[in-house]
């Protein structure tokens, strides 16, 4: 524990890390689009964070952080796919997706808060399926075992729950807030 005043570089790096955290859900979604396995994707999110920290000095505050971090995330994901031969979409498709004009969203905080409210509106079994999938990192066959039902019905539940959650967050974003 020491109280040395932070150097300008440290302050800059901390700012850049703060920006990363703001965009972390978007980064995670983007990496998951290329690497669907949660734990592999988690590693790549972490590598992206480390790279962002290391290269913080090259980022100029005021320019687009979203574009900068997207480039790094994309590079890290492709690197991981090539080096470790993850199952992913074809190179051609990944390229087409990468070229698609689409900015990372900056409003993750709000969307996370709204998502929590929407999750509370799910019926218990749907909620449990989502928790098993996203919190416990189970895939549909395991979830089916845990819930004593078919994989098919888990698939239906998950995709309906996702549709509901997406609509719910959108509705809440659009509606008058508080």
């Amino acid at each position: 524990m020491h109280d040395d005043p932070a150097t300008p570089e440290e302050i800059h790096t901390a700012k850049v890390q703060g920006l990363f955290l703001q965009y972390q859900p978007a980064v995670r979604g983007y990496i998951l689009s290329m690497i669907p396995d949660f734990s592999l994707a988690d590693d790549v999110v972490q590598e992206t964070f480390l790279t962002v920290t290391r290269k913080a000095a090259t980022f100029e505050i005021g320019t687009s952080f979203a574009a900068w971090v997207k480039t790094i995330a994309r590079f890290k994901a492709l690197e991981a796919i090539r080096a470790r031969r993850f199952e992913s979409l074809s190179e051609e498709v990944l390229q087409a997706l990468g070229a698609e004009p689409r900015e990372f969203r900056a409003d993750s905080d709000e969307r996370l808060a709204l998502l929590r409210g929407c999750l509370d509106q799910l019926a218990p079994q749907a909620r449990r399926s989502i928790d098993y999938r996203y919190q416990n990192d189970h895939l549909p066959p395991q979830i089916a075992d845990l819930m004593g039902c078919t994989v098919q019905s888990v698939n239906v539940t998950l995709s309906r729950a996702r549709t509901f959650l997406r609509d719910c967050v959108q509705r809440k974003m659009a509606a008058n807030p508080t």
Partner: protein, 530 residues
């Protein structure tokens, strides 16, 4: 063009790692052929990432508010421990949503799993010193050990048996009609529906046959059973000579493996009517103490509104603002509401149940910092938002203070005039009002401090959430509703929203100053709740 429903299914299967080789080719072909398909894919990825992010943050409460400060803690890469999996049956399709996404009466949402473990209600606790986990009167007691060093507890088992436990004592609650007394004294009053209620000790089982009995355990082999009324049956490992059935007026003392028939002695156990009187006296003493301190509280600097809900007159619709120097215009007007008991039998409170129920009042001016405090008893959270206070509708500085359906305490402070999510400074606590808290009094406080740019929520004096204000907007005082929400006019987009509170309020204060945590705690110390 592509088949959108098919694409949705393939994207879902891709995320869940279930694509067959053929399906993967099909998905790739779709993505290559259409920008719209790629946009849809990326859009679904966003939600997927958001869900995963949410799941990783769940449990690490308030991560969002601490993001800027403690980046080390935030990098949430550690894999969360797997949650113990329960077995649940899926029913037919269609249960994944609540009807129309609204607040169904059955809740569907309310988390009540723990209620399976609850076996008794703690009705009273007099002069009690707990040894181990403590409970407040009104609490639902789960299965498990209850230990007290001194004092008296009255427990109402869900079977209907009423047990008075005298400390020092250790009682294990096993089910709604079974308990084990390891040490101490109890009396059990068992009405017909609870017949069969059983108390065990190490060696024997006392099975009630519709009566009132007392039991005293002083050691593993020392026990007395007294029957005051009706009949009990003794089962288990009791000395040969012991009568297996025991009738009114009779008692048995078992010591060191020998039993002795004795006369039942009601005097050696606590008298229920004395218990009731003691409880009533304590109740009144606490109310008296509150009254004294509440009068002193009126002179607190910067206290603008203080409703104590005492001396309510059903005919007058008037709720007096007791803050020192308050003018007539700041009194509240009661619309609807029932006059009910508050924290103590003699304490007044207003009950809010109908959608019309509210207290309207007006405070003047604006203030950079404000503290809101209320003693509330939430009876249920039927609506998405259940308003405690709403003030100055649609003005910059408008305040919404409310509890959402999941029991989170929410603050919204309007910092711009548009009807948009981003117009609000907001602070959200973790769920603090769970079904366990329903029907019980709690102290809620929220501090808006525009000078330091912080907002904080407190429950029973403990900070449960804090956050930074992005825009330091002063709080606009003005027309306010306690326990309800009003749009500024019928033309407003918020007109018609129902956010009525369901429960009771028996004290409310608004100060134009940010109280420190210690000051909030001292308010609680002065107004203890039983």
């Amino acid at each position: 063009m592509f088949d959108e429903a098919r694409l949705e299914r393939l994207v879902s299967a891709y995320f869940d790692q279930e694509l067959t080789v053929e399906e993967k080719c099909e998905l790739e072909a779709m993505l290559l052929s259409s920008s719209k398909a790629r946009q849809l894919f990326l859009d679904r990825s966003e939600l997927h990432g958001l869900l995963r992010e949410q799941a990783m943050q769940a449990g690490g409460a308030n991560l969002l508010n601490e993001v800027a400060r403690e980046e080390k803690k935030v990098v949430p890469f550690a894999r969360r421990a797997w949650i113990a999996a329960g077995l649940a049956a899926c029913v037919a399709f269609g249960w994944w949503l609540l009807p129309s996404g609204k607040q169904a009466a059955d809740g569907g949402i309310a988390k009540t799993e723990e209620s399976h473990n609850e076996v008794a209600l703690l009705d009273r606790a007099i002069d009690v010193e707990w040894d181990g986990p403590s409970f407040a009167p009104g609490a639902a007691l789960p299965k498990g050990l209850i230990k007290i060093r001194k004092g008296t507890l009255q427990l109402d088992f869900y079977s209907g048996a009423r047990v008075v436990l005298e400390g020092p004592a250790s009682l294990e609650l096993l089910s709604p009609d079974l308990a084990r007394l390891d040490s101490g004294k109890l009396t059990a009053k068992v009405p017909p529906p609870a017949e069969g209620f059983t108390v065990m000790n190490a060696n024997l089982r006392v099975v009630d046959r519709g009566t009132e009995f007392g039991m005293s355990v002083t050691g593993a082999n020392d026990c007395e059973v007294h029957v005051f009324n009706g009949e009990v049956e003794l089962q288990g490992d009791v000395p040969e000579s012991t009568a297996r059935e025991l009738f009114e007026g009779h008692a048995v003392a078992i010591r060191q493996g020998k039993s002795e028939a004795i006369a039942a002695n009601r005097e050696s156990f606590v008298d229920p009517s004395r218990l009731l009187q003691a409880a009533a006296r304590e109740n009144e003493a606490q109310w008296e103490k509150w009254r004294t301190t509440s009068q002193a509280f009126r002179a607190t600097p910067d206290l603008r509104i203080h409703f104590d809900f005492e001396d309510l007159d059903p005919a007058a619709m008037l709720l007096r603002n007791r803050a020192a120097g308050a003018d007539e215009d700041s009194h509240g007007t009661i619309i609807g509401c029932d006059i009910l008991a508050g924290r103590w039998d003699k304490k007044g409170a207003l009950g809010f149940a109908k959608t019309s129920d509210r207290v309207r009042f007006r405070a003047e001016g604006s203030a950079p910092s404000v503290t809101l405090m209320a003693w509330v008893r939430v009876d249920s959270l039927p609506l998405e938002h259940n308003a405690l206070l709403s003030m100055a509708p649609e003005k910059i500085g408008e305040v919404h203070w409310k509890i959402d359906q999941a029991g989170r305490l929410l603050l919204g402070l309007r910092s711009s005039g548009e009807f948009a999510y981003t117009s609000w400074e907001r602070l959200e606590s973790p769920p603090v009002v769970t079904p366990k808290e329903f029907g019980r009094w709690m102290h809620l406080a929220t501090v808006i401090d525009s000078e330091s740019g912080t907002m904080k929520h407190f429950v029973n004096g403990s900070e449960v959430a804090s956050g930074q204000m992005k825009r330091r907007v002063p709080v606009q005082l003005g027309l306010a509703n306690l326990g309800n929400f009003d749009a500024s006019s019928p033309a407003s987009p918020t007109s018609g929203l129902v956010r009525a509170f369901n429960g009771r309020i028996d004290e409310f204060a608004l100060l134009t100053r940010a109280l420190a945590a210690e000051e909030i705690m001292s308010v609680l110390d002065r107004n203890p709740f039983d």
